[in-house]
Amino acid sequence: MSLLVGDSDTITAIATGPGAGGVGIIRLSGPKAFSVAQAVTGVTAKARQAHYVQIHDRHGDVLDQGLLLQFPGPHSFTGEDVAELHCHGGPVLLRTVLRECIHLGARQAAPGEFSQRAFLNNKIDLVQAEAIADLISSSTEAAARSASRSLSGAFSTQVDALLEQLIRLRVFIEAAIDFPEEEIDFIAESDVLERLESIEASIDSLLAGARRGRTLRDGLKLVIAGAPNAGKSSLLNQLAEQDSAIVTDIPGTTRDVLREYVQIDGLPLHIVDTAGLRDSADAIEQEGIRRARTEMQSADHILLVIDSSQINNTKDSTTLIAAYKGDLPPAVPITLIRNKCDLSETPAFIDRDKDVTEISLSARSGDGIALLRQHLLSAAGMSDSDSSDFSARERHVLALEDCAHHLRQGLFQLKQHGAAELIAEDLRYAQDSLGSITGSFSSDELLGEIFSSFCIGK
C-alpha cells in the first residue's frame, strides 16, 4: 500500500512542543476539522472567536476545560478549515484529546504537513517555500533518527519477530490463493488458526510493552481509588504538594473527580482522584462512582487506598482487593496503599513480593511517600530493573493497535469460515499497519517468499 495520503482527509497533531507546558494546543485541519471539534466540545463555534468549552471523550466524560477557536478556510493557516483546542498542557491529557480526535476520523499529521498544506493553498509565499522544503526533509530526518533510536533493542526485535510470523502466515494463504493446483494444501498444512492466535498473543504483549514504554515520554495516568475517607485526597495533595513542578491545578470538573499534573523526577504524572467507591442510593454520588469507574478503565496504574486503621492489618491484599473486584479493570496494574500507618501504628514499608505490591504509608504525615514515588518511577519503566519495555512513540502504539484490530478481524473471518480472500485481505491490512514502523513490504517480495518456500509451478 502506498503511504501517500491525499489532502481530502483531516489531519491533527499536538501543535505545541513536547513536554509539559502551561497550555497545549491540538490543531485540526481539513474538511472534518469543525465536526471533530464540535464532537469533542459539543459547541458549534463561531468563526475566529474564542469559546470556553469542556472537552470530553466518546463516553461524554469531561477531560479538560479550555478554549476552542475555528478558522474557516480559506482564511486560515493552512487554507483549509482549521480548529484549535487550547488545553492544559499535560502530555497525557493532550495525548488523550488527540486520540479522541483520531477516533472521530482525523489522522495524525506527518512532519511538516500543516505547513505543506499551507503552502499548497497559497498561504505561504515562494520565499518561505525553501524553508518548508528544509522543514520537511529535516523533520523527516529527525523522525527517522528518533525512530531508529526507539527501534533499537527489544522493541525492534519483537516487531521483527511479529512481522516474520505474519509474513509466514501470509505466504501460506497467498500461496493457497495464487497456486491452487499445487499438491500441497497450504492452508490446511499451516494451522492457520493456531498461527493467527499466536500472532495475536504476540502483538498483545508487544502492545502492552509499547504502552508502558510510551509512559517514559508522555507520562502515566494514575487513578486514586478506594472507599470514602480512606485518605485519597490527602494522598493526592501529598504527591502534588511535595513536588514543586506542579503544572496546573484544575478544580474538579465534576464534583467528584479531581485532576493534578505533577512530575516526579521528570516522569509526568496525570493524577486523578475519584469518588469513594461504595454502594450508594444518592443519585449524585452514584454518578460520581460511575465516573470513577470510567477513569479507572483508562488508567495506566491504579492506587487502591485503604484505611489501615479501620481494618484488621493481618488481612492480606487478595482479600482486600477482592472487595473492589467489580470496580477494578482487569488489565490495569494496581498498587495497594495501606494509608494512615501513623494511626494504625505500623511502620512505612513496601512489599513487592505479593501478587499486588503493597505500600504502607501516611498521606497526612508524609511518611512512606518517598517509597511510593520510587515505586511509581519503576512502574513507569524508569528504573533499571525493568528493561523489557521500550521507548515506543505514540505512532508506534497506534500502528500496533491498528495491526491488532485487523488481526482480530481476520481471526473472526477465519472462525466464521469466511472466504480465504477475506482473511488474506485482513492480514494484508495488518501487515500494512506494521509497515509504518518497519517499512513497506511489496507484493513482489511476498511472491519471492512464496517461491523460496514452496516448489511451485509447472
Partner: protein, 643 residues
Amino acid sequence: MDHPTHFDVIVIGGGHAGTEAALAAARMGCATLLLTHSVDTLGQMSCNPAIGGIGKSHLVREIDALGGAMAKATDQAGIQFRVLNSRKGPAVRATRAQADRVLYRNAIRSIIEAQSGLQVFQQAVDDLIIENGAVQGVVTQTGLRFRAPRVILTTGTFLGGQMHIGLTKSAGGRAGDPPSNTLAARLRELPLRVERLKTGTPPRLDARSIDLASLETQWGDEPRPVMSFLGDPDQHPDQRCCWVAYTNQHTHDIIREGLDRSPLYTGVIEGEGPRYCPSIEDKIQRFADKTSHQVFVEPEGLTTNELYPNGISTSLPFDVQMALVRSIQGFENAHITRPGYAIEYDFFDPRDLRSSLETRAIGGLYFAGQINGTTGYEEAAAQGLLAGINAALAIREEAPWCPRRDEAYLGVLVDDLITLGTKEPYRMFTSRAEHRLLLREDNADLRLTEQGRKLGLVDDERWAQFSEKRELIEQEQKRLLRSFVHPGSPAANSLNAKLSKPLSREYSYAELLKRPELEYADISALDSLGISNPQAALQVSIQAKYAGYIDRQQDEIDRVRRYEGLTLPSDMDYLQVSGLSNEVRDKLIAQQPETLGRASRIPGVTPAAISLLLVHMKRRQGKSAKTLDSQVPEAPKVQQQIH
C-alpha cells in the same frame, strides 16, 4: 518499393498481443495492417494449450469486456473448463480452459478475417522507418516499405531468439520458426534498454505411447463455465480430460546425472527464467528434499495424439529427456514427438514505456507482449489490446487511456511494468493487486464495458446485453432495500430455519442478504420476485456480502486518488527540487514517472520525497499560473452499486 496503401496503424506480429492490437485498432476505425512472418500461425499457442487460470482469467475477462477476441476464441476452442478457487471467494475465483490449438487458431483467424479495416500481410519485418525521432513505417525482408504513423511491435520471443537443447544451440523464435535477428539488431541501435530473458517448454509426447489408463484423470467442472460474458457452453467443442502423473526419485537421479550437460547449470544460459515456472532440473536442485513432482498431462487437441506434459519443462540434452520421461510411471514406453527446449530472447526494459505502451524514445512506436518482459498469452493479449487502443486514440488525436490499478488487472500489469520493470518474465497473480476484492472476474464488464463502448470497441450486441444486466442489478438492489421481512411472518419463519438466531425485528432484504447463512436464492424465494439472470444475481449477492470490505478498499482508493491524477511535467528538472536525497533524485531522473502516484510506487521514493515534489511543482507554477488544484481531477467516486 513503397506499398501503395497508406495505413494508420501497423502491427508487427500475429501472436496474442498482435492479434488483439490489430483488432482493437481496426475496431476503432483505423486502417490497420497486421504483418506476420506466417499467416498460418496467427493466434498460435506456443507453450501450453490452456487459457486462463488465477489472475490470468481476470485479464481474459477484461479483454472480453473491452470487446477483445481471446475469451470468444477460448469458448470456441476449449476442450476442458474448470473453475479454480471456487471456495476461496469470488475475487480469486478463476476460469481455466484447455484449448485445442487448431480450433483456437482457426477461431482467431476467422475473427481477424471478419474484421473490416484490418489487412493481413505475410512477410518478416527487418527494419523500422524512423524520421525525426518518430516512427513512420516498416521495411520487410524483401525491402517492401509500409508507411504508417503508428507501429506496434509484438514480436514475442523472436527477437534474437536462441534455443537450447542440452549444450546444443540453435537460432529460432519458437520450435520450427526462424528468429527476427535483423530486426533485433536494428532495435538494439535505438536508445532503449535491452536485456535477455529465458523461458522453456517440456517435450511433447505421443498419446498412443502412454499408458493413460494407469494415470489419474481430471475432468472439467459441471455445470461448465464459460470464458466470455457472451459465451455459452453450447459453443464448446467435445470435452476431454487431463491426467496427472508424478516424477519419482529415479527421475530425479537421472536429472542430477545430466546436469553437467545442462545449459542452465553450466552457465550457457544467461537470461533470467521465471521463479514460478521453473524447469524440472531447477525444481530438483532448489527443492532437493521433495521426492515427487506433479506432471499435468494435457491434450493438445481433438484431432491430434500429442500430449503436453505440463511440469517437466527442460533444456537437458535429448537423451536425458528421454530417460527422465520414461522413468515416470505410465510413460515407460513414451515416444517424444518434439524435444523440450529453453529459449532466450531480447526484451526491452518496460520502464522505458509510457502507460499507453508507447516508447518514450521513439514517437508512435508501441511495444506489447513478451517484448516487454511478460510471459503468458493473457498478459500479452491484454497489452496488445491496450497498445491498439492507444495507437488508435493517437490517430484520432485523443488523449491516451490506461485503466488505473483499482480499475483493472490490466492497470496493475502496466503500472507494475512501467514503474518497477521486471527481472524475470512477469506473470499476473492476484496477490499483485492491492484492490483484489474489487477486481473480480465476474465484474470485469461492470468495470470496463462502458469505457470500451466510449472508445468504440464494444459492439451493439455486447452493449445491449451489458446494459440490460446492469439495469437488472440496479433495479434488484433498489427492490431489496425496499422489501422487508417482519418477525413472526411466514417469510421470517422460513428464514429462521437457516439462521443461527431467529429474526427479532424487521429486516430489509438487503440486510438479510449480508448474513453469511443466507444466499441470494433464499431471499429471492421469499416472494419469487427475484431476478433469474444468474450473472446479475451473482453481482447483487457479492456486492451485498462484501460491502464492508469493498467500502474499505474504496476509501483507500479515494485517499490516493489526488496524487494518481497529478501529472508530473515531462520537462521536470529533478536537480532543481530541493531536499531530495541523491538516491531518490537518481531514480526519478531515470524513470521520469508520469504521475505523482506512480512516482510514489518507485521503490525507495519516500512519502517525504513526494511532499517535496508537490512543493516544487507548486513553486514552479508560481502564483500567477493556474493553480495546482485545477489539475487535480474531481475524484469521481467509482460507482459503488456496480462494483
